[in-house]
């Protein structure tokens, strides 16, 4: 992916990897099952990258989002932005990951060591179990 966006005029490349996490805020997560509205994912990525190119016309950007079950420690998303100057590369990369979190229709279900499965809410904290009353932000 880095090679895909590289070119001689680009002096700065920013790569972001989002990785399945099992930290103190999680509770024995072994993997995350990613599901998506795949046709809309493609359409929305097209719009998101077009927005990014409008803001940073010199940046070259590539994105990969994995779906399905991804074990702890593996990356679910990779974003690379290469640009003539580093500020553009950082900003474009950050813009795309923030856009993914807001716009790309993907959902996560945490799979835990105790066998439970918990949908992740958008703040990143799994607060809603499938049997609870639905909440919506």
């Amino acid at each position: 992916m880095v090679a895909e966006v590289a070119q001689p005029a680009c002096g700065g490349t920013c790569l972001f990897l989002g990785t399945v996490r099992d930290g103190p805020d999680e509770h024995g997560v072994t993997a995350i099952e990613y599901s998506a509205y795949e046709a809309m994912v493609d359409a929305e990525f097209g719009r998101l990258l077009a927005d990014a190119r409008d803001r940073w016309p010199e940046a070259r950007i590539a994105v990969r989002h994995r779906l399905g079950t991804i074990p702890v420690g593996e990356a679910s998303i990779a974003i690379v932005a290469a640009a003539p100057h580093r500020a553009q590369a950082f900003e474009a990369c950050r813009y795309v990951i923030e856009g993914v979190k807001q716009r790309i229709p993907v959902w996560k279900k945490e799979l835990r060591v105790d066998g439970t499965e918990v949908w992740v809410d958008p703040s990143g904290r799994p607060t809603v179990r499938p049997s609870d009353h639905p909440s919506h932000v």
Binding site: S76, Q102, W107, P130
Partner: protein, 87 residues
């Protein structure tokens, strides 16, 4: 388009919503003019489990996010989206 003709709309459910409704897709017919909100009300009324959906879910029409006030047309694909949690 004749506004008296009922519109037939595909409604898609994802993730937690698909679990609540017990299926990932239904079809509804409703008289035009109609909005995304009308589609949501119809779904919540007609399908067991769908009452558990929020009254104002995030929605998309034909692969693009849409407000509940947006109009729908015959043949549209309306998706009800749980809070997005990708990345």
């Amino acid at each position: 388009m004749d506004t008296a003709t009922p519109a037939r709309v595909r409604v898609l459910f994802f993730a937690r919503y698909a679990e609540l409704v017990g299926r990932s897709e239904v079809a509804v017919s409703l008289p035009l003019p109609a909005t995304v909100g009308d589609v949501v009300r119809r779904v919540r009324q007609d399908f067991p489990g769908a009452q558990a959906l929020p009254e104002r879910p995030l929605a998309a029409v034909n692969l693009k996010q849409a407000k509940l006030e947006a109009g729908v047309q015959d043949g549209d694909e309306v998706a009800l989206l749980p809070p997005i949690a990708g990345g």
